[in-house]
Amino acid sequence: MKKKLVSLLLVSAMAIGTLAGCGSNNAGNDDKKETTKEDNKDAASGETKDVALTVWSPQEDQDTGWLKQQCEAFNEAHPEWNVTFEYGVCPEGEAKDTVKNDVEGSADVYMLANDNIPDLVSVNGLAEIGGSYLDDIKANNSESIVSSVTYNDAVVAFPFTSNTWFMYYDKSVFSEDDIKSLDTMLEKGKVSFPLTNSWYIASFYAANGCTLFGDGTDEAAGIDFGGDKAAAVTNYLVDLAANPNFINDADGAGLAGLRDGSVNAVFSGTWDAASVEEALGENMGVAALPTVNFGDAEGTLKSFMGSKAIGVNPNADDMEVAMALAAYLAGEESQLAHYETRNVLPTNTNIDVSSDAIAQAVADVMKNTSIVQPLVSKMGQYWSPAENMGKAIIAGEVTHDNAADKTEEMNTAMNTDLAE
């Protein structure tokens, strides 16, 4: 029998295997140790050090040229390093999905939404920040922003903008007084709210005293979305869904309604600012969240408040430069440039944005109508049950009769890890 082909195949299989060995990270480790030693030598002798860094950011930061400008400015500010940059596209919200598949092969410096932090830390994807860098973060940001990037008592990313949602409304329909209460708004005009989105629906439960992990950091406390207070919210939402002046905001129904006048208020974030302005023009109003009357009690909607931040990969070829770059990109000058080019609201308290209506609304939300989006790994159990609840309410499967039971069911699901 002639098995030439098989043998050829095997040779190529060997080749594959050989290469596979190269890819394994142990070989990489050895290299790294050596380079670190060399780096130290270079630094001591005061020569220019050549460094290659990969940076990931959303596409918009690259089109507007913001990222490139900032990176080049960083290069100029540090004559002791000669950095060559390579850019990749990765939206902040997708950081965990992209990084976790191959941490070692990911960017040295990348942007992330703060809710990605637990997942990223669990795959060793974020380097801890300490020393002078940590002092700078604490000095220039509000406490809630700092806590949004703190996980297991360690600060793991440089925050550069807040991430939350607020209310856009039509000034010709609602007065300044009307927008203080959701119930008044529902009488005067049409309101759209993304009830089937679990990032938003929590605001109702939080308004009536339901908590997530105590103050948001106590993992052992668990999620408290049960009992009478939560059932009252579910009952309220059942009525809300049946209200003819309420429109569930899914698949873009809210914005489209604003445009043709069939919706007068939507709840969304800074990313929709341009579209809303286009739809409402001068009548565009921006405000923090309204209050809701649950019958026995009244409360203010509380949105999740998070941040977007810049993280450093522990596998970075040159930790020193990568850390410095991340700090620079989230620094005061960069934040200002970011705000000017793309309207990315700064978190740095030294930057004055009081003339900006949206910035004011966000500041107001952060101060009065928000809770910190909990950064604990069990938070992962919150999303699906909450979303299912929203969908079941809209589908009419939750009624006043079963509201209490369904609420308990949701609470149980939120507090059980299905794999335990």
């Binding site: 890819g23 596409q59 873009g252 309604g257």
Partner: protein, 290 residues
């Protein structure tokens, strides 16, 4: 037979024919409707994904212009070229693989044949996305996940496993009479000659089918390509782009462009289909009767 009976028979036939055509028309309407919707949406003047009328209130060509000129957020022309290049290679490799395997399974007799057929069938039962990450690492070990090599990696991903999808083509080859092969062997032809000069020319419909299905793979996959390309936007395929247009930041301003993109993507496939359709119509009839 009287004249009236013949006429009645004819009338019944006409009624039946009209009935059949009406049913066909209704069904065809239902089938074409969503596609028609995509096409009109691509010309819609109003923004956004949510509409209350079936036909647009205003028509515009701007969606197409934006799709091809506004490369700031999503570089559609580049994605289109990437996908086209990848699709052409995938199509060639897969077609060769599928035809080779199905010919062997249909005509050759060797020890591993039945085991291979059984294994091939059950391989399809394992969800492919589960092996996504391991495929990525295998490609990484082959140094195929950086820079221009990503294209090669994508070609491999879409074509490497195509050999197991031979069942349809094998079923087809089975219908080609063996007597043709036997006659050729008597004339002194080698197996290779039989394969290339007799079987292949008789198999146009199945070749067309294979080409069509394998050409489409890179256009429609929206999971694998992202895992392989990661942050390297230069190598994105159109489906990643189309998928991105539906993300919450983009959906409002890009939805109509999404429809335009879908139309543009459909064009090469539709053209390929129109060129090859006649093989389905005439294809085999007459040529291969045993």
């Amino acid at each position: 037979m009287s004249n009236t009976a013949i006429r009645a028979g004819k009338a019944r036939k006409t009624v039946k024919n009209i009935f059949v055509h009406v049913i066909l028309a209704i069904l065809a309407f239902i089938w074409v409707l969503p596609i028609f919707w995509v096409v009109v949406t691509s010309f819609r003047g109003e923004k956004g994904s949510y509409v209350t009328t079936f036909l647009p209130k205003t028509y515009t060509f701007n969606n197409y212009i934006k799709l091809f000129t506004d490369t700031s957020i999503l570089n559609f022309p580049r994605m289109f070229m990437n996908t086209l290049i990848i699709a052409i290679f995938v199509c060639i490799i897969s077609t060769v693989f599928v035809l080779s395997v199905s010919y062997c399974m249909s005509r050759m007799r060797f020890k591993m044949r039945k085991p291979f057929m059984n294994i091939a069938m059950i391989l399809g039962l394992f969800p492919s996305f589960m092996s996504m990450i391991s495929v990525y690492y295998i490609l990484k070990a082959l140094n195929l996940v950086e820079g221009g090599m990503i294209r090669i990696a994508l070609i491999i991903v879409f074509s490497a496993g195509s050999g197991v999808g031979f069942y349809v083509a094998k079923g087809f080859f089975d219908t080609i009479p063996k007597s043709l092969d036997e006659a050729a062997i008597i004339d002194g032809a080698t197996r290779w000659q039989i394969f290339t000069r007799i079987t292949i020319p008789l198999s146009k419909p199945i070749i067309v089918y294979t080409i069509l299905t394998s050409f489409m793979a890179p256009w429609i996959d929206f999971i694998f390509a992202k895992v392989i390309c990661r942050a390297d936007a230069k190598y994105y395929t159109v489906s990643i782009g189309l998928w991105k247009m539906l993300e919450k930041e983009y959906i409002d301003s890009w939805y109509t462009c999404f429809a335009a993109g879908a139309v543009v993507v459909s064009i090469p496939i539709a053209i390929l289909f129109m060129i090859t359709q006649k093989y389905y119509v005439e294809g085999m009839s007459g040529a291969v009767k045993g």
